[in-house]
Each structure stands twice: as C-alpha cells, then as structure tokens.
C-alpha cells in the first residue's frame, strides 16, 4: 500500500522534512479496518492476555458504543471510526537492544534522535511504533533498586497482581467516550513502578511514533510512585504527514503515594492530520506532588486536560500548559485540579499562542469538594494572538463547595506589543527574530521547567512554528 505525503505551506513547513517522513509500511499483523468485538477479542488473544482483561476490553467497547460524542471542545464529528486500523503490530517482539529493532524503524528513531538521547540524558527509554513498543530498556542500576519500567503489555504479563490492583482505578472505562475506546483497544504505553523512597533522578522517556496511514494509536500508561519516591517521565511523539486523518487516543493513570512526587512532561508534536484526544489523570495522596508539564504544538485537534485529584491533606497539584496553534490547528488544552481533601494546594499556568488562523485555548476546572477546607488554588492563563485571523478561547470552570478556601483565576489575551517589537528592532534584530524572541519570553515560565535538552528542543520547535510568519 502506498501513501502520499502531502505538503502544507507556511507554518510548520519544517515539519514534513524533519518529522513528517514515513517508512514503507511493514508490519507482522494489521487488524481489519473498523472496530468490532471480534477485532477487540483478536487484539487480546494476540497479546495472550488473561481473561479478565479480555472481558474488560469487550465491556469497554460496549460503553464506547453507547456514549455520545462530546458536543463541546473541538470538532470531532469528522472522525470516521469505521475507517481506522485499530491495531498494527510492527514487529514480532519487543527488544532491549537497538540492534534487534528492524532497520527501518531503527533509522526512524535515529532520525528522531532517540538512541542518542538515551545515551546522554535518560534513565530508560521506551519506543513505540504504531501499536506496539519495539524497544524498551532501563538502566541496570535502577532495575536493581526495584524500579519497573516496561511497556504496559509487559507490565500486565510480568506483574499482573500489581497491574490489576491499579489499572482502570484512576480512569474507569466509563469516564468518557475516548477513554472507553482506549480501554477496548489499548496497546503499548508504559508501566512504571517506583518503590518506596527510590528517586529516579534522570528522566525516563517514551517516544510514540505513528507510521501507518489511517491508523489509531491507543497507548496506555500506568505509573505508580510509592511513598517518598520520585520519577520524571517524559513523552514525545511525531507522525508522518498524510492526507487523511489519524487518531491518537491515550489513557494515562498515575498514582502518587504519600510523600511521593511525579512529574510528567509531554511534548506533543503530532503532524497536522492527527486527532489527539487524550485522558490523563493522577491521584496524589498525603503530601504528594503531581506535576504535569504539557506542551502541545502538533495535531489537527487536541482535546486534553491533564488532571490532579488531591486525595489527602498536603497534596499538591501543578499543571503547566503550553499550546501553540497554527494553520488548521485547534488546541483545546488545559487542566483540572480537584481538591478532595483539606490543606491541599494547586497551581495552573497556561500559555497559549494562536497564529495563521489557528485556534488555541484553555479549558480548565478548579473544584473544591465539600470538606476540603483551607485549600488554595491559583490559575493563570495568558494568550498571545499573532494575527487577525487567529482565535483564542479561555473557559475556566470553578466549582467551590467550601468556604475556607482561597481560589484565584486570572487570564489575559493580547498581541505582541508594538513597543516590544520596536525595542528589539531598534537593536538591529529582524522583525521575525524579534517576534520569535518575544514568544520565547512569553513561554519562558514553562520552558524553564523542562530539562535542559527539552527546553532547547521546545524553543527550536517554537522557532520552527514562527518561521517567516510575523506581519
């Protein structure tokens, strides 16, 4: 089957060249197009799953079929569920050595710089290609301390008890239509367990790559950070540029136990033909901290609101969100913090940029449940509009059922200031460069939270987005 990469002009011009390439399709198995109980059962059988998971998937499919499509957020009406490949298995098995990864795929990940980064900055890497993880490895020293970092499928195989105890407890399959879909056809993703008191100082990374045309990627991630432990998980993703749309619908569940801390960083850079509809949620227990750093640069439509439920006193939730929408893109990003216990605190900082007719927004929720006294929450949303054709939305929801709380929300929308441009240009900087510098400054509060090499990457991606664009 041949595929025709399309070229778009203007914004994200560099994307096609750097990330938008595709390998010739090669896979050991590809499910029939569309979604039926037979296909769901087939996925489960091929994975050799226990019966409870097979039943769970089939039940989730029923829920998916019953749930209506969301009528808010972005336009999901054009997703054609019948014309998607739900499972594409690229290789016969997952490996711990890049040498065993098929040459094409290895070349792809080389181009994306994954093996190099693994050597330099990371404690472990998982690389997913279409539906399955093709490479997965963690440093021996961490393995010895009992840290588990596996693909989600291997997590189920090798640690079924632990897996079963937490799987689906944070995000039940009935949570929303796309969580139900993921629960039915999930494949790949990461399973992480960090034992009590163990601090994984260097990040673990997962990289998600879609190669096949008209496919859906449904990875599933489950992270358990035990008492006093720490982990930083980073995920990145890209896909080829195709003329038809792909669907990415992940579910990420995180449990941070007492005194633990988890940071989850996403640099989402899908091609402009990917629907990115993701459910991410974390439970933070006593004195635990959960931080989401969520950068959304790619995709046709992203609807993603990472959330933190603060379950016990002292828990802290933080969401840092950057959304950049260019031509043909709609970033409906944001976050949710739910205060379920007293003396919990949270912070959301959102920065969105719209350009070339793109639409970027913040949609968020701050909820304080009854009994959750002495909570503090602060939300700060800033939006930058780079031209007349673009759009910015802010939809913050605040639902407060307690009186002894302090909740604040602030948002501003503005354009690049003429004075700022003038100042930089009077220093001999071109208009384009000046605008790019201002945008970099605008997102600086979030970029500075990224590990160095990702901060550099982020700035480079932003510059790519900004090229030849300011009028």
């Amino acid at each position: 089957m041949t595929t025709e990469p399309t070229t778009t002009v203007g914004i994200r011009d560099g994307y096609a060249e750097k990330y938008g390439f595709h390998d010739d399709e090669q896979h050991v198995f590809k499910s029939k197009m569309g979604l039926t109980p037979e296909i769901v059962a087939q996925i489960s059988d091929m994975k050799g799953e226990p019966k409870w998971m097979r039943d769970y998937r089939l039940k989730a499919l029923e829920i998916f079929e019953k749930k209506p499509m969301p009528t808010w957020g972005g336009n999901v009406g054009e997703i054609d569920f019948k014309n998607i490949y739900y499972y594409v298995k690229p290789t016969s098995q997952e490996t711990k050595s890049w040498d065993d990864v098929p040459a094409d795929m290895k070349r792809t990940f080389d181009k994306l710089g994954i093996p190099e980064a693994e050597q330099k900055f990371l404690s472990g890497v998982g690389a997913q290609y279409d539906s399955e993880v093709v490479y997965h490895k963690i440093k021996e020293s961490l393995e010895k301390q009992g840290v588990i970092f596996l693909s989600c499928d291997h997590g189920l195989k090798e640690h079924e008890e632990l897996f079963k105890q937490y799987f689906g407890t944070v995000i039940p399959s009935s949570d929303n239509k796309f969580a139900a879909l993921n629960s039915a056809v999930w494949s790949g993703g990461s399973f992480i367990y960090v034992p009590k008191g163990v601090k994984v100082d260097v990040p673990l990374q997962a990289y998600f790559r879609i190669n096949t045309k008209d496919m859906g990627q449904f990875e599933r991630t489950l992270i358990i950070v035990d008492e006093g432990a720490y982990v930083h998980y980073v995920e990145g993703c890209t896909a080829p540029v195709y003329s038809s749309d792909s669907l990415h619908s992940a579910v990420v569940e995180i449990i941070v136990k007492a005194g633990g801390r988890c940071r989850y960083t996403t640099i989402q850079n899908w091609s402009n033909n990917v629907y990115n509809l993701v459910t991410k949620r974390a439970l933070a227990y006593r004195d635990a901290t959960m931080e989401w750093v969520d950068g959304n640069l790619g995709s046709k439509l992203t609807m993603k609101y990472p959330s933190v439920y603060m379950m016990e006193p002292g828990a802290h939730g933080e969401i840092l969100s950057i959304a950049f929408a260019g031509r043909g893109q709609h970033q409906d990003a944001g976050g949710k913090v739910v205060h379920c216990a007293p003396h919990t605190t949270s912070k959301i900082i959102s920065k969105s940029i719209s350009k070339d007719g793109g639409r970027a927004g913040y949609r968020g929720l701050v909820k304080v449940q009854k009994g959750a006294t002495d909570c503090r929450s602060n939300v700060n949303c800033d939006a930058l509009l780079l031209d007349e054709a673009s759009r910015s939305d802010t939809y913050p929801y605040m639902e407060i059922e307690e009186d002894r709380v302090s909740i604040g929300h602030e948002a501003t929308v503005s354009k690049i200031g003429d004075e700022q441009l003038f100042y930089l240009m009077s220093r001999g900087i071109s208009k384009d460069d000046a605008a790019a510098m201002i945008v970099s400054g605008f997102i600086e509060p979030i970029v500075k939270e990224l590990p160095m090499e990702y901060a550099v990457e982020m700035n480079r991606l932003i510059q790519l987005q900004m090229e030849g664009s300011v009028g």
């Binding site: 007349e388 910015s392 709380v405 302090s406 948002a411």
Partner: protein
C-alpha cells in the same frame, strides 16, 4: 403519563393560553403583528422541550419545579388599577421612600400595569413612559422594529411561553438629544403565589439622549410556586448614555428567569447595575452588544444568597465593533446552603480591533455548606485587543477580621462590616441615594 400524553397536555395548555392572551390583547387594542407573534410563539413553545439539563447554560440550575408546576399557574391574574401611590402595596410604597413625585413612575401588579405616571417635566421633553399595552396601541411603529429585535421567542421554551402570555412591562422612549429631567422608576409586584408574570420592556434612547431607569421587582414570600419570565430590550442610539439598574428582591417562593439584552451604538455608554437578592431559584441572562465603534458598557452586579437560594447569572459582553470597551464586575456572597453560579463570556468578533474588555468575578463564602461556581470565559477572534478576566472565591479574610477585632469589635460585627464593604463597589454605582439605602438595608437584613 407517557411522553406523548404530556406533549398533548402541554400543547393544549399553550393553545389555551394563546387564545386567552390574544383575546385580552385584542380587546386592549394590540396591533395584528403583535397578536400573530403570540400564536406563533405558542406553536414554538409546543414544538420545543424545556431546556435540556445537559445544556451548558442549564446544567448548573434546576428549574424542574417550575416545569412541573407551570400548568397550575395563572398568567392573567388581574391587578387592581391604582389612582395614586396610596393604592399601591405597602412594600412598593416603602421602596419609593417618599420620592414618587420626583420620578416618572410605572407600577405593575401581577399581570397588569396599574399605575403610569409621567411627570410633567418629562412630558414636556417628549419622554415617553408607559405600559407595553399602551405603547403597542399608541407607538406601534416604534415597537415594530425594537420589540423582539434582540430577544427571540425561539431562544428557548420559556422565551416562547413568555411571548405567548406577555403581559405588562414598560416602554421608555427618550428623543434625540434629550436628557431626561428625572429618573424613571419601574416596579413589579406579585400579590401572591400561583402567578406567572411575563412582562416585556423596551427602552430606547435616541442619538445623544440620556436617562436613568431603575427597575425593582418585589413580592412577599408566600407558600406555593410563582414564576417570573421577564424580558427587557435596551437600545442606545449613537452617543446616548443610559444608567440602568435592575434590582430583584422577590419573595422566596419565586422562580425567576429574566432575559436582558442591550445594543449599544456608536460612542454610546451603558451603565448597568444588577442585583439579585430574592427568589428561590433565579436565572438571569444579560447580554451586551457593543455594536458601534467606541461603544462602552460598564456592568456591576451582585448576588447575595441565603437559605437554599440558588442563583445563576450569565453575562455576555459581545464586542462587535472596533474601539469598544466593556468593564464588568460581578460579586457573589453566599451563606447557609445558598449556591451561586456566575457564567460570563467575553466575545470579540473578527475586526473588533482595539477592544478593551475586562471581567471580574469575586465570591465570598460565609458558610461551609454554601457553594459558588465561577465560569468566566473568553473567545477572542481579533488580535489587537486587551482582554482580561479574573475570578476569586474565598472566605472572609482573617487578617481583616483580626484588624477589626483588635479594634474591639465582636466577631459577628466584624464580619458584618466586611460583608457590607464587599458590596460597596456595586452599591456605589446606584444613582439614587434612597434606592442605595434600601438596598443597604436589604443586605444588612440578609446578613442577619
């Protein structure tokens, strides 16, 4: 009862109401186009359902009691004609605080406007203040392109019902260049439960005209459902300026769903003050269209809930033209089991460059069983704009309490002062001293 049975029953009710409303209105000399709208609205009401609980504007408020009880309400309860202020219900007279002679006055009692008193000073200026019934008779041409221009009967089923049984409301007309010599005061009173009041008002200010209009809604708390479905449309010509206060203090049995719309012309200014104190379940939609270049809207409002009151205030600041300004501050204070929802949106249309929009929502929770939801939104389609919003929810500031108590005040006194202070920025906007005083008293009474 099956759905089909319910539909038949509802259609019969709306058909009956339409027939009775049309007969009454025809007797009162209503023009044909207005009568036709009633019957069309009745058909619309029958074809629609009550707003879906999943609708983002209805999911946070529960009107099911009103839905279930509407068939038992009387939209045509007559009010006795008053010869003067002395014939009016005592609470209304008290609100006038002896100043009835210094204003244009219009009083509605249940379904009827019972007193219209245009002051000679206003008459001399050509200012019109009269009931909607009289206006349809005498000023039909002026209403043909204003009544229903901003508020449509098909917006939801309640709007359609309101149009069908429309009764009462005021018509205000201030000619070009005229600054109304006296404030215009509108009162609505409900005599008891079982009423469905559906007044519709239209306020038109000509080019460069100026006026102050204060509307007050009052009733005594009684056993049994009452429902208010009011609508007001405001039109400001170029460079006009209107100060409009709408103060709601119904008895605790009243379900209230009010729709207010304003269109602000080039260079015109609207000062809007809205307070919600009474009622059982209260929903209000106030939309401001900044339609002409340089138009300005300043919106100040508060909700103060106690007991099991539930308020939902939805505002929309629509910037349709360039160089427009809107500045909104909504305050909410809640005690006991009260609940408030503020849902506001700033929309900036394409081409509405140099817009300056601000939206602030501040909430004060006085009990741990109260609940406040705040949903301030922005939808911006122009780039050269300054749009900011902020929302806060919190309890009484302990530092302020400490300060006051260190001055020898009791805890309860200190809290009272802080709550009173909380409302001052809105109260200060109310142009008439006596009205301000009345509201201050009502607030104090509510603090308890």
């Amino acid at each position: 009862m099956t759905t089909a049975d319910l539909q038949i029953q509802e259609r019969n009710l709306f058909t009956d109401w339409s027939a009775r409303a049309t007969a009454r209105a025809a007797d009162a000399g209503e023009p044909a186009w207005a009568l036709e709208r009633r019957s069309a609205a009745a058909a619309t009401a029958a074809a629609m359902s009550y707003p879906d609980r999943g609708d983002d504007l209805w999911r946070r408020i529960d009107f099911r009691t009103a839905e279930a009880g509407i068939a038992g309400l009387d939209p045509f309860a007559p009010g006795p004609r008053a010869r003067g202020v002395d014939d009016l219900p005592a609470p209304v007279v008290a609100r006038m605080a002896g100043e009835a002679g210094n204003a244009g006055l219009l009083v509605q009692r249940d379904s009827d406007v019972v007193l219209e008193q245009t002051h000679p000073a206003l008459e001399k200026q050509g200012v019109v203040l009269c009931s909607m019934e009289r206006a349809l008779r005498d000023h039909g041409a002026r209403l043909a392109d204003t009544l229903g221009a901003l508020l449509h009967a098909d917006e939801d089923r309640y709007a359609a019902i309101s149009e069908t049984v429309r009764s009462g409301g005021a018509f205000v007309w201030v000619p070009d260049g005229v600054e109304a010599a006296l404030p215009l005061r509108l009162f609505q009173w409900m005599d008891g439960p079982g009423r469905l009041s559906a007044p519709r008002s239209v306020i038109v200010l000509g080019r460069g005209a100026r006026a102050t209009v204060i509307e007050e809604q009052l009733s005594a708390t009684a056993e049994g459902l009452a429902l208010h479905l009011g609508g007001t449309e405001v039109f400001l010509g170029d460079d006009a300026k209107l100060v409009y206060g709408t103060l709601q203090d119904w008895g605790r049995n009243v379900f209230h769903y009010g729709n207010q719309r304003a269109r602000i012309g080039r260079g015109a200014e609207l000062q809007w003050i809205q307070t919600l104190l009474g009622g059982r379940v209260v929903k209000s939609h106030s939309y401001f269209d900044l339609a002409g270049s340089g138009a300005q809207a300043f919106v100040h409002g508060f909700m103060f809930g106690d007991g099991r009151q539930h308020f939902h205030l939805h505002t929309l600041q629509r910037h349709l033209a360039d160089h427009t300004t809107s500045d909104l501050l909504i305050k909410g204070c809640l005690k006991d089991h009260a609940r408030s929802v503020y849902q506001g949106l700033i929309q900036v249309s394409e081409g509405a460059q140099r817009t300056d929009a601000y939206q602030a929502n501040r909430n004060l929770l006085l009990s741990d069983t109260a609940r406040a939801d705040s949903i301030p939104g922005l939808e911006i389609l122009a780039n050269d704009v300054r749009c900011t919003h902020g929302a806060t929810i919190g309890n009484v500031d302990e530092e302020q309490m400490y300060y006051l108590m260190s001055r020898g005040l009791q805890r309860s006194e200190a809290q009272r002062l802080i709550v009173e202070g909380f409302f001052v920025p809105v109260l200060d906007r109310i142009p008439l001293e006596s009205v301000r005083e009345q509201l201050r008293d009502a607030i104090e009474h509510k603090i308890g």
